[in-house]
Amino acid sequence: MGEETLKTTLKVHRARLDLTQADLAAMAGVTRKSINAIETGRMVPSVILVLKLSKVLGVPVEDLFSL
């Protein structure tokens, strides 16, 4: 079985709100590196961070992340 990867539309929703990675990071209480790592698929965020991002962007979790 192949390794599953997490797909994300974080970048799209961030751009929609005209936010930089640093802005979104500050709003979610993490660093720009974390946002960058999630957007480029290098990191799978924790449930807590996923919920924070969903709340900050005003987008349901299932719209932000999918398998």
Binding site: D23, A25, A26, K33, S34
Partner: protein, 166 residues
Amino acid sequence: MDASLPERTEIFIRYIRGSLYLSLACLAVATAALAALALDGDGTWAPAVTRFLVTPFPLLPVLMAAGVALNMRQLKGQRFRREDPALRAVLEDEQRREAFHRAFRAAFVTTLVAQFPLGALFTWRPGIRLAPGGDLLLLGPVFMGAFTLVVGLVSLIGFFLFFDRD
């Protein structure tokens, strides 16, 4: 002028990374001194090495202070306050935590593997008596322990800086 939250976060990240690079530099000097001491052997070539290290020694504290001062400039007047959201974001950042965990695993394996060359390098060291008739102090295990500590610290900091890079 007050920096914005994202700017403060970047300032703290740069400062912490700078501090870690500085620690690596200090560890490099300590490692060189330790290596000169450990490889002294019959003293045929060690004096040259120790002279090389001892000659600039008075300058080392000055260099270290200069490095710390240079790194402090990166803070741009920011202070470490526990309640600062920028500092909390840096300390509780998931990507950095993951980088630390990866670095810890890599450093553990490196330290474990390093035991073989360290063992081969230091088993030939004869023991010394600190006082006439006193207990024999085996230098091999002492140097192995010291180098294990150094290898562990250097690899942990080095791997963290690598995994935490942009």
